[in-house]
């Protein structure tokens, strides 16, 4: 098999492969920096929590409009946002930690969702309908993901500095009169936007996996915030590309294939990265001597 047939032909022959690749690019650009900030803020599990937290919204959307993707996505988005904002506020005005506060609200939300689905009596797996797969990305989903990536980059460019300060030293930001809570809420909105759009377009595993794994891996390669964001985006896109090809040539389900490639990159980074990896710890470079 030639290199061309291995790497390029699938994308040239099949439109769905091209769409999937472009969706990966968009999601990588948006999710890379967002994931990196989540890691910095110790909110790495938020993505998982949100995938459950959207249930009541999706269920209400279903009850109101039937199996309408728009209604269910909108409901899911509102539910996810409510959970994220409420837990952010509680974590900021009380001594409760962010992760505990998030866990509390997402569990309430999940239970509420199960309740609504059950009383409605129908047992179509709502999440199954709501969560897409990367192979089924259509033009609308592509436009959605790309617009959200664009918005994300612009908003981050605007509030990035405050956000990083708020991550590392919230006391300092408050002392100099920075708008800490407002910045946090803007960030939470971004997280929810990226994830819920990702759920709908690509599936939960893909959306959360491509947000968190590259960001966690980037930590072993880059030192500054810009470098971290760029590295996570690059790893995310590379994993998407490689995962799609694996799925194509080896007949593997595409979502798990992509996420597992990202997982492989993470493990390799832990072992071999240039910043604080096992390699630098156990095999330190020879000291320069004067």
């Amino acid at each position: 098999m030639t290199v061309y047939a291995l790497l390029a032909e699938p994308f040239i022959e099949f439109g769905f492969m091209r769409r999937a690749l472009v969706a990966c690019l968009a999601i990588s650009l948006g999710s890379g920096p967002v994931g990196m900030l989540l890691v910095l803020r110790r909110m790495s599990l938020v993505g998982d929590a949100l995938s459950h937290a959207v249930l009541p919204g999706a269920a209400i959307g279903f009850v109101v409009a039937g199996l309408s993707l728009l209604a269910m996505s909108l409901g899911g988005f509102i539910a996810g946002l409510t959970v994220a904002v409420l837990s952010g506020i509680v974590a900021r005005v009380t001594p409760q930690r962010e992760d505990a506060s998030f866990a509390a609200f997402y569990l309430i939300s999940l239970a509420l969702g199960v309740l609504i689905v059950s009383t409605r009596g129908s047992n179509v797996d709502l999440m199954h309908v709501l969560f897409g797969t990367i192979l089924a990305v259509d033009d609308a989903a592509l436009v959605l993901v790309a617009s959200i990536a664009t918005c994300t980059l612009f908003v981050l460019a605007g509030i990035g500095r405050g956000l990083v300060v708020e991550c590392l030293d919230p006391g300092f930001l408050r002392a100099v009169g920075g708008p800490g809570t407002a910045i946090h809420i803007a960030f939470v909105v971004l997280v929810v936007l990226n994830l819920v759009a990702g759920f709908q377009a690509l599936g939960t595993l893909m959306a959360v996996g491509l947000m968190m794994l590259p960001a966690a891996a980037a930590r072993f390669w880059a030192r500054d915030v810009i470098g971290l964001a760029a590295t996570s985006s690059a790893i995310a896109f590379g994993s998407g590309f490689a995962g799609l090809l694996l799925s194509f040539h080896l007949d593997l389900p595409s979502g798990p294939a992509i996420v597992l490639v990202a997982g492989g990159v993470y493990i390799a980074s832990v072992a071999l990265g240039s910043q604080g990896s096992l390699r630098t710890r156990w095999l330190p470079p020879p000291h320069l001597e004067a």
Partner: protein, 316 residues
Amino acid sequence: MQPISRRLLLTASIALGLTQGRRPYAAGKLRVVATFTVLADMVRVVGGEHVEITTLVGPDGDAHVYEPTPADARALAKADLVITNGLGFEGWIDRLVKASGYKGPRVVASDGITPLEAEEEPAHGTQGAAARPHAHGHDDDEHDPHAWQDLANGRVYVANIARALVGADAANADEYRFRAKAYDRELTALDRDIRRLLAAAPADRRKVITSHDAFRYFGRAYGVEFHAPVGLSTESEPSAGELATLLRQMKQEGIRALFVENISNPKLIEQLAREAGAVVGGTLYSDSLSGPDGPAPTYLDMFRHNVGEIAKAVIG
């Protein structure tokens, strides 16, 4: 194991005998629990006003991913008769019956049909009557459960259900037999009509793509070739390679008919249609009937609707 289950059976039949003896004096109707809508509709037709039906998986529900509720267990506990599809369709029913304490008879509607082996490679279609004879033991999990998608099997279902109703409620036996016979005639007539209608399309055009592999019995019976990008159940995720194989095949063989089913996500099918320049036809009803206002509220309506949609696509 063996002696215990025999004793259980004995107990059950004694209990059954008791209820049978008491039934004519009870004012209530025969309480039947059916696992999903197709069975419930058959019971309704055969049982008429003498039965009260509880359906566990309701209209447009998906029995593959169903989770029983306490209300279901309660309905089961009070039931006189439980009717299941069998062939591994209701993986949850054994646990539910045990949990509910139901001791009455359980009727497997698909008893006596010739089951198709479950397919291992979901991307490959089944060519009409030439189902691949994979011999793989006779575990229920190895069989394709969607047997009601062939009206000949539907007749077996109805006969099994009628026998069960007669056994559970001897007082109305004649009426059950009468109604079952009339229903059987309707099924036979529809079966003949469908064959005649689909025979109008040339064999190489009778190729259809659906979102979940529920129509293999239909394909075997009526000579329509079905392909599904997702496997037998609704849970698995397709691979890019599988999708590519299917697309190449669609382009090569000129398959232009694509359908979504009432219980799954239509996005994948839409993607295939876009890419192959085909059109997405209407909704096919596979594992579940529609509500009373939908296009497929009964078993017969489901067939008429599905065949109408397929005929429109392959003949039109």
